[in-house]
């Protein structure tokens, strides 16, 4: 696959804090469907030779992959845009049935200054949809709190065998009307 330039730090400065959390917590697998809001996080993971990043055809594949990774003794992180959350509901059953940790980062659309109407239904449904599926939701909308929120979520997920989603406000991701 062709290499694309890494998204500049100035656009998503919190992304480097997030990647550092992955390093500190020995996160070895990542699963994603490409998304503008998490683009720099994805780029940093792809460039990290200690991490194996898996491109998904649809988001629910990532939930299953994370379960398999943990069965095999590796920590993972699942990256998705708000639209992908709805695709994951049934797959999240394995987290509750087996008490397997899941750390998810959700970048929001349809929430803050959105200009594309089709993003709004799932965007507005994200917190309730996640909670209905047993996921602990931790929302963050301040630049300098993203790293610490991801770290706290990772500890909660990995040490208490729960699903925890860090929901990153559209105010931070700069994706009002594209992709």
């Amino acid at each position: 696959m062709a290499k694309k330039p890494i998204v500049a730090r100035r656009h998503q400065p919190w992304a480097d804090d997030v990647h550092k959390v992955f390093r500190d917590m020995d996160v070895r697998q990542m699963a994603y469907v490409p998304d503008g809001g998490l683009a720099r996080v994805v780029d940093l993971c792809l460039a990290d030779r200690k991490m194996r990043s898996v491109l998904l055809t649809t988001e629910e594949e990532g939930v299953a992959q994370m379960a398999g990774a943990w069965l095999g003794g590796q920590r993972g992180v699942f990256l998705t845009q708000s639209g992908g959350v709805g695709n994951c509901i049934n797959m999240l059953s394995i987290i509750q049935e087996c008490r397997i940790p899941l750390l998810a980062l959700v970048s929001m659309r349809g929430q803050w200054g959105e200009r594309f109407p089709w993003q709004v239904p799932m965007g507005q449904a994200v917190p309730a949809a996640l909670q209905s599926a047993g996921v602990i939701v931790q929302q963050v909308d301040e630049m300098d709190r993203v790293g610490e929120t991801v770290a706290a979520a990772a500890h909660l997920a990995y040490h208490s065998f729960r699903a925890v989603a860090v929901v990153i406000s559209q105010r931070l991701t700069g994706t009002g009307g594209r992709g």
Partner: protein
């Protein structure tokens, strides 16, 4: 005018329990992830084992659970035993897996061309959809459809040891099979599987 997909005309000669028993014969340290329903039953009937992770839900997720496991344990062989309905529910995962090319992963699809657990309704494979063809087109190292014992034996080297990812669809009868008592407590299965695989590291 739409054309009907061609139906396969080859006779179906294989019985599912015998197939899975053969695939798992002298299994060594292979790790097995099963799909829901008959696939889990067949795997347990071949001999319950600490290295079996049985799924009783998340239809469509078996192959991706196996991918995560295979990437975490590159020195271990990982085998999926699932049905055609479950594989079709996660058919996109063949593209995901084909791109990642895990050498230690094989997928066996026990294809009775029906949704047995819900009353035996036809699946897409009964109308000619070719799961092995989808796997090859997705970048799998090897993929085939098996109709008889000779073809199964010829496929065993790939299934158990081939540089993967490998996929084999095995066409079987739709006849009912005796139920096997199988604990479906996912937490219990998880602990047993991880303890066997990771030892004390499972509890760190």
């Amino acid at each position: 005018m739409a054309t009907k997909p061609k139906r396969r005309s080859r006779r179906i000669t294989l019985e599912r329990r015998a197939v899975v028993k053969r695939i798992l014969k002298d299994r060594g340290d292979i790790l097995v992830v099963t799909g829901i329903g008959n696939a889990a039953q067949d795997t347990a009937a071949a001999g319950d084992h600490d290295n079996n992770f049985y799924l009783f839900g998340i239809m469509g997720g078996a192959a991706m659970v196996a991918l995560g496991l295979a990437l975490a344990q590159p020195k271990r062989r990982v085998l999926v035993i699932t049905g055609d309905g479950e594989m079709l529910a996660g058919i996109g995962s063949l593209a995901t897996i084909g791109v990642q090319k895990p050498a230690n992963l094989s997928i066996v699809v026990i294809d009775n061309q029906a949704y047995a657990a819900t009353g035996g309704q036809d699946t897409h494979t009964s109308a000619g959809v070719d799961i092995a063809g989808i796997a090859m087109a997705s970048g799998f190292a090897a993929a085939r459809t098996i109709y008889d014992r000779a073809e199964l034996e010829a496929a065993m080297a790939d299934i158990r040891d081939g540089s993967g990812p490998c996929l084999a669809v095995v066409k079987v009868h739709v006849k009912p099979t005796p139920r096997v008592a199988l604990p479906n407590d996912g937490t219990w299965t998880k602990h047993r599987f991880r303890k066997a695989l990771l030892g004390d590291a499972a509890f760190e």
